[in-house]
Amino acid sequence: MNGIPRWVDIALIPLINLALALLVSALVIALIGENPADAMGVMIRGAVGSAYGWGYTLYYATNFIFTGLAVAVAFHARMFNIGGEGQAALGGLGVALVCLAIPWPHWTLALVAASFGAALFGAAWAAVPAWLQATRGSHIVITTIMFNFIASALLVYLLVNVLKVPGSMAPETARFPEGARLPSAYDWGAWMGFGRSAPLNVAFFLALGCCVAVWVLIWKTRLGYEIRAFGQSEPAAKYAGIRPVRTIMIAMLISGGLAGLMAVNAVQGEAERLIIDSVQGAGFVGIAVALMGRSHPLGVLLAAILFGALYQGGAELEFEIPAISREMIVVIQALVILFTGALDNMVRGPVEGMFRRPRKGAA
């Protein structure tokens, strides 16, 4: 990393950004007449102060790991996939179809099959924008965001007209059968204090596995090498005989597949049925997570846990201090995104300078 230690790049700088974001958030809270220290205390306790809090924090984090990895993989090919929302929604459809189609004898089989379904549907939803970008030059940002709306409308149609349980008023599928339900944190982690209500489930481990898999893919395989080369310089990739269409397609299919996998956590693990808007903005949070994590799986993991904590802590804060409204929570989350993503270079320059100078003598 150009003379600066790697931990500075992936840990110190994000932490400084985060501290700045929280500082500004504290000012905002003080402005509306609440005590920032109290509010922060509630948020932190609510998110990570108990097994109950962790049960939610890590559940949200699981969603963000999938969508964050999705954005990160596409980033390495310099594709800005902001269609995670739609790809995850379609992934939910894949999960629901797999879980409802077959009476699964055991959750392990159901997990494997549903993962395939989720990844396949997510990848398929990314394939069209990817193809348009690769062959026609239609900008992927525009097409993926349009596909989010199409996905949303498609799911409403399917849930209202096709998949709804006859006689029910709710636009949702039937609950998945017993054999397709994933063990929750209570089932395998009760000894750690997780309660029955914790939405955390085994999909968390799938997410961790995906982090490792993405790391191997990007930094150890030929494919990852080609994706990174293509992302750094398309003309150079062409010079090296790396095919642009193939690389774009593969990177985007993997990206869409990862976004789709989010449904294993949200739909199969938590809701155990497909409901309208199962993604709840996680596709967009994934962009912030990938930015903050600098498209590195470890960074994505840490950033996802941070955003999970923000979500859970924010919910607690809203509940505990009524003067801090839902909108105020969104402001705090937005500040974190602003400082870690958009204003990153503000901190990066000076900090990198500080770490370069002492190394000069050694070099």
Partner: protein, 526 residues
Amino acid sequence: MTAIDTIAGRPGAAAPGKVPAIELRGISKAFGPVQANKDIAIRVERGTIHGIIGENGAGKSTLMSILYGFYKADAGEILIGGQRTEIPDSQAAIRAGIGMVFQHFKLVENFTVLENVVLGAEDGAMLRPSLAKARKLLVDLAREYELQVDPDAKIEDLGVGMQQRVEILKALYRQADILILDEPTGVLTPSEADHLFRILRGLRDEGKTIVLITHKLREIMDVTDNVSVMRRGEMVATVRTADTSPTDLAELMVGRKVLLRVDKTPAQPGAVVLDVQGLRVTDGKGVERLRGIDFQVRAGEILGIAGVAGNGQSELLEVLGGIREASGAVTLNGQPLDLTGPRADGRARRDAGIAHVPEDRHRLGLILDFTAWENTGFGYQDRAEYGTGALIDQQAMRRDAQGKMQRFDVRPADCWLHAKNFSGGNQQKIVLAREIECDPDLLLVGQPTRGVDIGAIEFIHQRLIEMRDAGKAILLVSVELDEIFALSDRIAVMFDGRIMGERLPEQTDETELGLMMAGMAEGRRT
């Protein structure tokens, strides 16, 4: 009022003769750990052409950027016409009477010459009076300095030589007293360069001060009055040009004795390796870039392609390297190569035995944000020596990189360093190491020493000759005639997408090649 009256009327322009036009004292500038300028002191006398010469990365461009307000010096002061001057931005530089002609022109392609000259220096909200004034000035300048250019021509329709004149006119329109030119002849034919030098001499004789940044010793000797030599961020000498010689200057630049010529034995050409017949390329705009090219390259010889940049040489390399599609017939060792379709890509060309050192190593040859070891395998990542299966054997790739970097004397020999952190010469050595050591039958080389320091040029030329002597076919494209003469066994000249003719280096000279490069059909027969 003529152009010159306007400028001579500027305050400070009539200062006494011995006050230097530019004086820099103790200028230092660091970028992170790199000390680009160290305590630079220089005096540029009024009414002289002052050359600044130095290897790439010696700090010439940084120094000029400080003078033009692009960078702020960490320490030191600037005196213009004897007065301490702060130059925080280019506007301040223009006010101080400094004009700059960049290597890459800063012109608006679809504006006319007149509009470009006026751009940013309009007198008021209405354009018409400025344009009328500029038109008159342009006519005057054209008469005085041979700076003829059609004021109503669009930039995109002009050749590079003309575009450069527009840049000079822009500076003069802004009443520049001091004109800085950064590598101005890189894109010119020899005769265009001569014309430029006539213009510069004319400007000097009118009392202007010219600073010429270049790495070409010949230009320095031809046109400058004084010359300053920079090495590794320091100003090592300032001498009168008449009192020095190219050898002395080269030694000052590099810090040791250098060979300005390569020793080589006569070529022993073998069988035809590359046979190109009727090659045609049409670009995305429908312009025909190659209009029927025929030539052959034999084993054990170097065919040099001379020509001014932009006459189809880049397209030729791209077609042969599998980056661009074309029509025609190309065979390698008798086997036809696909010129369109999926087998017309870089991978297929490498498999066929063609290695390619591209003209633009930053854009094509390297991934600047990759480490050196990732770059030494770039394009060959599928080869079995880097492991089989989906995973890359990174240890093998690094071992391989270490070996290549050692054999090609890449400094620093640290394979974990990112490509962008190497100097131009060392970056080029990385590319050359990769493309030469894959043991190809045919090596395509574009501008092998562009932006490369003198010490490395010597090394690179020797490697290419060694490769030739090992019986490989080499196609060399270069805009540097010196390089073409130094390396080629045969020389072909390209102009406007055609090959104007072939010559043997010992039977031709720069004048003849210069004429052919300018499109004079057969040149002068020797």
